[in-house]
């Protein structure tokens, strides 16, 4: 049971990193990124391929963040030319392009067969079952660092500017700041966090395949952010934990409804998450941590 809880905790913390990154992009700056999973996948495959090629974990993680952020650069540039709705479509399309590229480029990613044998974190230390506990601890530290960074950022002059972009870009230009440059920076920063989350995921699951990077992952992250409260860093934390309670809690619901098969239960879980989103939107549209404005 403890091993299960640690595993759920690790996944929750990975989702938390993704949600913090998305919250920076959408919650604070207003950039609609429906391609979160693409940067998550890029981070995961980058770190996995590098470590399989003999790189140590830490530099592989750093490169995963950098590659995800660099890939975000041209998409961020596109956001300058597109209105919010079109950026949403472009990023959604981009996430599918990334997934299909992973599927097709077998020489690099092994395609649909997947990438096995990715080194588990802390395994080389010979601490056995404690390796996952150590992973959980490192993820807690990374999330605390990300939360601290976000809280510092949004209270800084830079943070005020990116929140001003969400309100009105022309008014930002009117005070002599170029919103385009800021939007690209924010897009890269959020995507870098998704890349870091991907690296953690790769070295926890130790096997990657394209079907782990479906758009559903992006929508889970959006749900976590909405439930927690957009534009609130604490909301990203609360939202990802609530999401995990719904996803994992619904597994136990099968004990009460034994007539439902395992496959059917997967659909029931999705329905429950959707129901939670609907209920939150109706009864608490500002999210768990948001205040009514």
């Amino acid at each position: 049971m403890i091993a299960y809880l640690i595993a759920v905790g690790i996944i929750a913390l990975i989702y938390m990193l993704l949600t913090i990154g998305l919250n920076l992009q959408y919650g604070y700056t207003g950039l609609i990124n429906f391609g979160v999973v693409a940067f998550f996948a890029i981070g995961a495959y980058t770190s996995a391929l590098l470590t399989l090629g003999g790189w140590p974990l830490v530099p592989a993680f750093v490169v995963a963040i950098i590659v995800a952020a660099i890939v975000a650069y041209p998409i961020g540039l596109l956001s300058l030319r597109l209105s919010d709705d079109y950026l949403a479509v472009v990023t959604l399309g981009f996430s599918e392009v990334v997934r299909l590229a992973i599927q097709q480029e077998r020489w690099l990613t092994h395609g649909v067969q997947g990438l096995p044998g990715i080194p588990r974190m802390f395994l080389s230390l010979g601490i056995g079952d404690y390796a996952e506990l150590a992973t959980l601890a490192v993820l807690v530290l990374c999330n605390l660092a990300a939360i601290g960074l976000m809280l510092h950022l949004v209270r800084s002059p830079y943070g005020r500017l990116i929140q001003a972009i969400r309100d009105d870009e022309v008014a930002v230009e009117a005070i002599g700041k170029d919103p385009r440059r800021l939007k690209v920076q924010v897009f890269m920063l959020g995507s870098g966090l998704a890349g870091l989350a991907g690296a953690f995921y790769a070295h926890f699951i130790t096997y990657l395949s394209p079907d782990q990077f479906l758009p559903l992952v992006t929508f889970y992250v959006w749900i976590a952010m909405i439930i927690g409260g957009t534009g609130r860093t604490t909301g990203a934390v609360a939202g990802s934990l609530i999401l995990m309670v719904f996803l994992e809690g619904s597994r136990f619901a099968r004990d009460w409804i034994p007539s439902v098969s395992e496959v059917q239960m997967a659909s029931v879980r999705l329905a429950l998450v959707g129901l939670a989103l609907i209920l939150f939107t109706i009864y608490r549209p500002q999210g768990m941590m948001g205040s009514r404005r």
Binding site: P157, D167, A171, A174, G176
Partner: protein
């Protein structure tokens, strides 16, 4: 002259909206640009501040050629701009709206000075701008524009979307600006009220200046008043 706009043509990327506009603004002057809907008034304001994508002609400010310079350089040169309607950041507090302005030297002192000039904002510093009334939002927009100590403020329809009871309140704010060594170039739909507090005015029609002169002269010109100013409320 502080601002000289010479033969400016401009568009958002397609057909020209401005067809060779020439105008000027002197130190501590209030100059109104009036005209019908679609005459190119707001487009002209954007051309002056640098927000119009395609501009030809010459715009000089304090003897310096601004043509081709980005907005931030024009603001550094002493211009300020208050856009139409969406001119405050609604999710930020009043204080954050003032602090968001970049490159303000000795910002704390200057913010305090603006709060003295607009005392109605003082008790609302921690309030989100979304909770302010229309008049208070305009005060905040003015205070923010004045933080960089401009010598010319471009106001794009400062009374748009305001309740009639608040309109005079905004014009009262505008009329105080020359006393602070600030000239005003104001685009306004409420031409009669705007000209009543202005030194001079320009009437635009289809991207061209069709009438210019002292505000009192324009107000007395029945023919042009009927054509372009309408019956004022």
């Amino acid at each position: 002259m502080l601002l000289e706009v010479n033969d400016v043509r401009g568009s958002y990327g397609g057909t020209d909206i401005l067809h060779g506009v020439t105008l000027n603004v002197g130190n501590r002057e209030i100059v109104t640009i009036a005209g019908t809907n679609g005459a190119g008034k707001s487009t002209l304001a954007k051309a002056v501040i640098g927000l119009l994508p395609q501009v030809s002609g010459r715009i000089e400010f304090a003897g310096r050629d601004l043509t081709g310079l980005p907005v931030e350089d024009r603001i550094a040169a002493g211009l300020a701009y208050v856009p139409q309607v969406a001119n405050v950041f609604l999710s930020l507090t009043v204080l954050e709206n003032l602090k968001v302005v970049p490159n303000v030297r000795d910002a704390t002192t200057r913010i305090a000075r603006q709060l003295d000039a607009f005392p109605a904002l003082k008790p609302r510093l921690r309030q989100r701008a979304a909770t302010l009334s229309g008049g208070e939002r305009q005060m905040l927009a003015f205070a923010r524009a004045l933080l960089t100590q401009p010598t010319l403020v471009v106001l794009d329809e400062p009374t748009a979307a305001l309740a009639p009871s608040l309109v005079q309140q905004v014009f009262d704010l505008v009329i105080q600006l020359p006393a602070q060594d600030v000239a005003v170039l104001m685009v306004e739909q409420r031409a009669r009220q705007a000209l009543a507090i202005s030194d001079r005015g320009y009437i635009l029609d289809q991207g061209r200046v069709v009438l210019a002169g002292p505000a009192t002269g324009l107000l007395a010109d029945d023919r042009m008043a009927k054509l372009y100013l309408g019956s004022e409320h």
